[in-house]
């Protein structure tokens, strides 16, 4: 471990603010880019599933 | 039977997500005059542009045709700043530069020879329409693809044009044109009603 204490790791000789800010922004961007498509795909799949079941039920009534 | 000028088999035309036309098959032989009929929005213009290969991305199926094609769209590629003579002399469709004599006979056939050297912008709408049609009276390619050629034409203009169609067909050419009205071309006319080929 390059830093002897947790506090030293945070301040990083005065540059900690910049370093952690950069990592924070990057991780937010990465998280958003991962979560957005997963959620939207899942919601589309749900609508397809519901649509399919509605049609299934509709056919059962008709027959 | 000589080789057909245009052969489309199972041609389908998309418009974004919508399937406009599907499985259109048509063979145009020398001497044929075909009308693509159907209501507005059925895809007459799109099919004609597919035949002209101006539309390719959303066109599927096989299309073979001769390279010697004259296409005339809604707008007639006439420059207001040029005179009718200059317009016909340097028409972008690459009709190898017609001789002055040919231009005169063409302009006379459509009755605008008197305005041959007046700026096209100063002509009336009807006269501009006639100058656009003058192209058909020049020595021209064998296969004609014409989009709504009869619109904004007076009765006399329609007769002149219909006679020209028949004359072109008899001299070994072929005409494919779109029109929502029925054209009075007698039994020589073959009609392809696009309503039967509507997509999905």
């Amino acid at each position: 471990m390059q830093f002897d204490s947790f506090a030293a790791a945070v301040t990083m000789g005065g540059h900690g603010g910049f370093v952690w800010a950069a990592y924070a922004i990057t991780s937010v961007v990465i998280l958003v880019m991962i979560v957005r498509p997963v959620l939207s795909t899942r919601s589309m799949q749900d609508t397809i599933q519901r649509e399919f079941e509605r049609k299934q039920a509709h056919e059962k009534d008709a027959s | 039977m000589t080789e057909p000028l245009l052969m489309a088999s199972e041609l389908s035309v998309q418009k974004g997500v919508r399937a406009l036309l599907s499985n259109v098959s048509l063979t145009v032989n020398q001497g044929d005059v075909w009308q693509l009929a159907g209501g507005n929005g059925v895809g007459k213009t799109s099919l004609l542009r597919a035949f002209a290969r101006l539309a390719r991305i959303e066109v599927f199926g096989r299309l073979e045709r001769c390279e010697d094609v004259l296409y005339s769209g809604h707008s007639a590629a006439l420059k207001g700043a040029l005179t009718p003579r200059q317009n016909l002399m340097t028409h972008p469709s690459g009709l190898n530069a017609p001789s002055d004599l040919a231009i005169d006979t063409a302009l006379e056939a459509v009755g605008v020879l008197g305005h041959a050297d007046v700026q096209t912008a100063r002509l009336s709408a009807g006269q501009k329409r006639r100058v656009a049609l003058a192209r058909l009276f020049l020595p021209s390619p064998r296969l004609w693809l014409l989009d709504e050629p009869f619109t904004a034409l007076d009765v006399q203009g329609v007769n002149v044009l219909e006679a020209r169609f028949l004359e072109h067909a008899r001299s070994g050419g072929a005409v494919v044109f779109t029109s929502h009205q029925s054209a009075a071309l007698g039994d020589e006319l073959k009609v392809l009603n696009l309503e039967h080929y509507c997509g999905d």
Partner: protein, 231 residues
């Protein structure tokens, strides 16, 4: 290309060039407007930066080239719009000559009444900014080549955006990044000329740009026009 169709093609291309030059001359405002724009924007800089001759002379190369670039962009915005609307572009695509070739006459005519005139007028505007006379030949040479490259690149963007509503702003967004190397080479040529350096390297870069552009750009322009004709 049998010689007969070769001759037809040459005849066709020269006919189209004559057609477009005649059309350009028929609307003189299309020629004069970029010049007026050039003059007006050049005047803004002394008003904005102060009349101090030394400072203006120092910045003259940059100012002249940036303004020439913007004037060129303006020319490209109008490039295919008229032909697209009145059906000439469709007919051009229907010609037996490949579209990449048949587009060149229009570009040549646009350059003759646009970039060429701009380059010849630039020394006058250069004087106003205190550009020493010694730099005028390099200014004209670099602009002659630079406007040609920028027209070719701008035409690619124009071909892709001609069928789109409000394509003008979009064209600037697409094309300005591609103009940057031309701007860098152009201003560098002038800087070298001013500081008695050797402008040949920068001018050679521009020359390579013109030849490369003439070879590659028409292909992209033709492909772009085909896409716009699909709309």
């Amino acid at each position: 290309m049998t010689d007969q169709s070769g001759i037809d093609t040459l005849q066709y291309l020269s006919g189209q060039t004559a057609r477009h030059v005649r059309l350009q001359l028929a609307s003189p405002s299309e020629i004069v407007n970029p010049l007026l724009f050039f003059l007006l924007v050049v005047i803004l800089f002394p008003l904005g930066l102060g009349p101090d001759p030394e400072r203006l002379a120092l910045m003259a190369p940059g100012i002249l080239w940036v303004v020439a670039l913007l004037a060129n962009l303006m020319i490209c915005m109008r490039l295919f719009v008229d032909d697209f609307e009145d059906g000439s572009l469709e007919q051009l695509a229907m010609a037996s000559t490949p579209l990449a070739l048949s587009v060149i006459p229009q570009l040549l005519a646009a350059w003759m009444t646009g970039g060429l005139v701009l380059s010849l007028a630039a020394p006058l505007f250069g004087m106003m900014l205190g550009l020493p006379v010694s730099a005028v030949p390099v200014l004209v040479a670099s602009l002659l080549m630079g406007t040609a490259i920028m027209l070719l690149l701008g035409a690619v963007g124009a071909a892709l955006t001609v069928g789109v509503r409000r394509g003008g702003i979009l064209l600037a967004l697409l094309i300005l990044p591609l103009y940057i190397p031309v701007l860098i080479a152009g201003t560098r040529a002038l800087d070298e000329a001013l500081h008695s350096g050797d402008p040949v390297v920068a001018l050679a870069f521009l020359g390579a740009g013109v030849t490369g552009g003439l070879l590659l750009a028409p292909l992209a322009i033709a492909a772009g026009l085909r896409v716009s004709l699909e709309l």
